[in-house]
Symmetry: D2
Subunit: 480 residues, 4 copies
């Protein structure tokens, strides 16, 4: 079944998460300014799924039931699925200018489908069946899911057991009816406003079994506390009665949070790994192969918005025909499409994993590359867009001044650009562009979705260097 | 005389500028949150001038009176002055993390000293004497000055006369006792909280005499309106009762404004150019040769703060010994010192202009280069610092949460890094770094102080390419 | 029919091109050191076509005859063909370390297939039938073809008619039985050692009809003169009796030439355009869409060899585990695969052109991007490889010294690396890598296959910026 | 005394070094094509010293004798000396397009002056006096010196004692009258054609005393063998009867060699360190502080030639007014002057070392930076110059073809550019530029003069990060 915005919001009304932002307790996630943006964005995923133009992108046929389900809850069955998934990602960032909030959940479902399948094949039977049941449940209600992956980790020079053991999320008790979780997950996008948080581990070693845990935790579960990030953008929104003068009025910036689990109980039917450290490497690899390649289209989608705003402002400045401005525009296009191309290639070179599972993952090397190219690309985009827009992208007065007729007259006179473009639109676009290029966006892009260093090492590890050495030798020693 | 913070603040009490920020009229610049940061920063220039460690940097001997004056009001008399000026600039950004607010004023005084000298030499006698009198007045009271340079310009594909003529600041009336100004200046840093705004023109052509105007306008003059920028950072500060949780608690971000002149009267004794378009090219060149080379040390000073914060966070993450983190630190150092070196070379290669004037300007080519290297460097710094710091630089919850004991306990537990570093300090430093690398800083650095394209063209124009061609020929055609 | 190396060489024996290199007339292209490398490379295209591992890559089914033909003479019929074409390109550079010599010919056949189709559809009927006959002839004998595209152009600030009209290749006479060509084509890879040169024009304007000429000229036609490039690499090879100490012993560097047409007669059955300037724009676009996307895999193939040699030398230096060396290896991988991914995406997004023709071309935007990424990437590859290899990549003595037993002993002692790697192999690999990273390779990569500026402008022109503006507006003005 | 070209050549006649190049024994260094270029370059250092325009740059007053000596044999006594030294370096590369061959010798003299001074101050008395005597001898005859620094090192994962001990140059015997050297030095520029080779060590540890050796070895000493590098450029020159068609006719490329010491005897009066491992760290630091900062002006000098050639070719192509070509020219200027500025700043921030010695060394951080900026800059220069010049920079036929009247006519017709520029000059300039940007130059620049990794680590080590942390803290915790 494809969910609707209305049913999603109806469900949200039932959740009472314990959440804080800017030093305050959130009273109602449906009306709080810092959570409403998340809800607008997740709601958009439901809306677009019912838009005939985007049905093929936003939905897929579930192999479990034959019914159409949200592609954001779909386990990829083919290279076509991998390709369409990235069209979805770019569509969502193009349509909201922020994280769709369900992308990580999709990753989690794919990761756990593969991992529980591998365990079952190896005779560890309890998890896969449970997972399939859980997936059917998700599909039935088209629930929005979020992935809980990154523990705070504390001092990185120490292993989990060499410091406060709770700095990595862990199982502190196994009961007859379920497990008890303690710890936290950091940088969790949208978690407070989705239906389900799906926990899965990074790679752990023998002796660290308590950390090898995968499970699903519903929104508002007892013992869970959410601390929302509090950037300047978040503060500005919190302080603004009228959102129309904000950079991204409806959807805001990517809203993340620190989610703390204080001895949270999870019943066994929602547990998909508990101690099997040998399978955590597969989780990591699967995550790289399904989540990371989305970084390309995700950032390309932001880049499309920056491109559009830059072109508008170039025109409005009367500079869209100037050679160096055109070169700036080209730089934005190049960065966007280079990362997108890496992602599409990752999809195209995707393959089944584990063999026989029928589950498809993108190629690891090109996945990683899409993220690395997105990182570098975003900073190039920022430079080029700043060059095009000029100083007002930073120094513009508030649009609120326009409410006063006298000040309005002054500002419309002096902030005017090309005469056939409304100065109000110009001011709007400067603020919009400011939101993307003079903000936390780039740093988020750089860090989010995976530490670049480990991705570079994954690229190294996944490249067949012996074959390249052979190629080099065969030509270097060529003889007639 | 070297002014004091106290006298500066005393003077400010007398000014009642008509200023707006975030849709509100500023009631008192001394207490308004968005202007207090400017005042703290300008006050710092007075304080450091009395600090024996920095006296040689912050003050200079006036050739007019033999007395010591603020170096920020000093007209450079030697290469040594040019060198010391950039130490001042770096010291100020290191000490405040923001624009000192008087840097442009210093530029303006140097530009007008040279320009009025050149006019006098050519027989246009009224301006230089007036300017010297004005300079003595500034020195006597150690007034803080700001430069008003950039008109809004509207549609750049049109000349000033092809559109609303007020989009470039101009003289609309010459009276017996003075002139009347109409128009605006954009991106004006600190203007609302300094004593004097010194207007000077960019290059204008014959027929555009009304735009060739230089003069000095005291703070709060009738007819002047200030519209302060309103970025997210500004909004956050405006909404915060307690500034201790802001990124740069005391000094904030660079505060700029649009300053509108609605038929503002300026008496002749404060007018230093009025219609002499032939001398506006000299103004432009002098500005490039005195203002732009400060971009290097200015951004290197910010970079020093980013470097310090990054090193702290690398340690606090337990990652300061990791090779790729060390390489990131090296990138920050390289970017900082490369732009600084270009600036120091600009000073070292400085020369007298106009000949015989005794006024020294930095070398144009290396000035431009310091700015171009600062631009590229700042984005490299941002990437490296984001890499070092990791996700919390964007996703950290508000420090305000710490006021609640229960939440404090949770956050101190889960945001902990290396055990011997206080988690509160760690949180502080994440927010501090956020202020520099996930903010408008880089875009400001890129655009501020001169359009990169025109600077590149200045570098081209000031390079002796014929000499390089000769060198190439003499070797290419070498014969025995 | 798939040709053989033997038949190719047999045909070559019949050609007596008038060719010069290093100031000397080439007596026999089969034995001349500077043309033998071309022949080895073209021969490789025939050999690999008979290698069962590569049959699917190297051959295709001709829609004209249903027979298998060399893919290098194939007109693409599907996206699959576009994808396989780039596998062929990477395979060839991996297998020879140089240009396969027939790549441009493949481009020319595709360009002319589309252009003559378009003309026929518009009622200009004589060319398409002729072209199809010519294609059948090429297929029948599996001839090797080369594309003649770039005229010398002289002073680029002048149009063809404002200077010596011969600086762009043109038709100087139309006879009853054919046309007479005069002019030249520059930078022609391999031309002297292939069977056919296929001429086609860049975009020309009305009034320049004499330049709108496409035709096919067999090797050694009367009036054609070839001047081979003469780089240091070419000089070294020419002076070397023993090729085993050269960087790429069998295949050498990319061998290009200036081909001059002094009133060369071409019969009408080999003429595919003569004066139809309106269709020259299609030629240009088709060339961008079929030739340029090969730049990605072509340079990735070189990059694979550089990668293999770098890894070998890192090991041989005992440095393959050092973090900064691993990062260098990652940079090489990233550059190779980024350009490859752009090319694969160009293929994947390919489409039929003209509509109804059944001829497929790669997407223009991603084609251009593959070349732009190849350009930047190659210089990054060179830096990284130099870093890995160290000084001997430049400073190594000649391997010829090894022939003397005493010198051999000294060199094997002092150029030794890791003890289990033969020092002779190490020396070989240094020279091999030198050939790629301390040579004309990068400059060739940068300039070859299309002027980067015009490609950037093509990327600009082919991007739907209005759609991006709409996206930006719809979010910037979002309202609840 | 300032030497003359004639006396230098007279001395050379007396040397009979055992040297090999391209598999052949060099019969006479004065006439061998691969050593004549070195001699031309070193001779230029003597010539320019007598040119009144350059006297202040090329010579200095010796503090030992009060006489003027070559600045290339001068031990720096002031910051002024450090500054002038880099003017000398840029002048030399501008004047020859290659390494002056004596630069390393200057470094060696400065390094040993400081090191022997430090030893004497610590009571190790024999070396300093000897060194001063040696320096007087050098000054008296104005001998050309070369520094022998880099041992081949073999497997870098092993220490000197874990592999063939000769892979690092060492003392194998201490006799009553002197020491016996065994081992080799790699990448030695010009060694075979200068008067003296001055050996000094890199940093060694306790237990490695045999490697801590500094001494001076005259050209042609018994037991020394030279193996010259043999790049394509070297091969081309070796094979060319007429040098006028080579890239750099008189001075060639940087000529390096592997110098092998087979039990070479050095008398004690020429030994300046023998076993004092504790002082080898000072040698390394002093080398970084006197040699590395020359990389900036050295590469800027090459860059000036590339700039001149690029400008010429831009004009000759009729493209010097095109915006993107101008931007390329700006990139070349920026790269040149950025590295130069880093070097000048290194000089400006220089200081005495050891204290009391009166010997001045450039600042370590800016020295390192000049080299790192030179490295990156050179690749940017190559890209920009290739862009400006276009394909003929790689694909041009040999100028030897011009000797035949018929071929000459054809080539002058078809390689013509702007009509007022001689096509022969254009061809000459393409070959000249080829020599710099399609050659080993960049790789040499990248690797020569110090491994970039260790330089980056030196930059890290020499930066006061604690001070930066303090700066960051003081602002982050700012309170009112």
């Amino acid at each position: 079944m494809i969910g609707t915005k209305e049913r999603y919001i109806e469900r949200l009304k039932g959740y009472k998460p314990k959440a804080f932002v800017g030093g305050e307790r959130i009273k109602d996630i449906l009306t709080d300014p810092n959570t409403k943006t998340i809800i607008n964005t997740v709601a958009k995923t439901y809306e677009l799924a019912h838009d005939p133009r985007f049905e093929g992108i936003m939905t897929a046929e579930s192999p479990l039931t034959g019914e159409r389900v949200s592609r954001l809850n779909h386990v990829a069955q083919s290279i076509g699925d991998l390709e369409t998934r990235l069209e979805l990602t770019r569509l969502m960032t193009q349509s909201t200018g922020t994280c769709c909030g369900r992308c990580g959940g999709c990753t989690a479902l794919n990761v756990l489908a593969a991992t529980t399948y591998a365990m079952e094949k190896d005779g560890i039977g309890e998890y896969h069946g449970r997972f399939v049941d859980y997936l059917k449940f998700i599909h039935k209600h088209d629930l929005s899911c979020h992935a809980a992956t990154t523990s705070p980790k504390g001092d990185r020079s120490k292993s989990p057991l060499e410091q406060d053991p709770d700095l990595h999320l862990r199982v502190v008790e196994k009961r007859r009816d379920g497990i008890v979780l303690r710890g936290a997950k950091a940088h969790q996008t949208s978690a407070v406003a989705v239906d389900e948080m799906i926990v899965y581990p990074r790679q752990f070693a023998k002796g660290e079994e308590q950390y090898a845990v995968a499970c699903a935790v519903p929104n508002g579960t007892e013992g869970v506390t959410y601390f929302l990030q509090f950037n300047s953008d978040d503060a500005e929104r919190r302080a603004s009665a009228d959102t129309s003068t904000l950079g991204n009025p409806l959807y805001g910036g990517r809203q993340t949070m620190l989610v703390i689990y204080e001895d949270v109980f999870v019943p066994w039917e929602r547990v998909f790994m508990c101690g099997e450290v040998a399978y955590t490497a597969l989780c990591s690899q699967a995550a790289r192969r399904t989540h990371i390649y989305n970084e390309g289209p995700c950032k390309a989608g932001y880049g499309d918005l920056i491109l559009g705003a830059s072109k508008f402002l170039a025109e409005s400045n009367g500079m869209d025909k100037i050679p160096h401005i055109i070169e700036d525009i080209v730089k934005i296009i190049s960065a966007n499409e280079t990362t997108y191309a890496s992602a599409l290639t990752a999809a195209r070179k995707g393959s089944e994993m584990p063999p026989g599972s029928g589950i498809f993952f993108a190629d690891e090397r090109f996945s990683v590359l899409s993220k690395l190219n997105a990182n570098e690309g975003f900073y190039e985009v920022m430079k080029a867009a700043a060059d095009v827009a000029g100083g007002l992208v930073v120094t513009m007065p508030s649009e609120k001044e326009l409410k006063d007729p006298e000040r309005r007259e002054l500002l419309l006179k002096y902030l005017k650009g090309r005469s056939d473009i409304a100065t109000e639109d110009r001011m709007r676009m400067f603020k919009f562009l400011n939101h993307f290029i003079a903000s936390p966006h780039a740093a988020q892009a750089w860090i989010g979705g995976g530490d670049p260093y480990h991705l570079r090492m994954a690229l190294y590890g996944a490249t067949d260097l012996e074959e390249k050495k052979k190629l080099a030798r065969s030509i270097a020693f060529g003889c007639e």
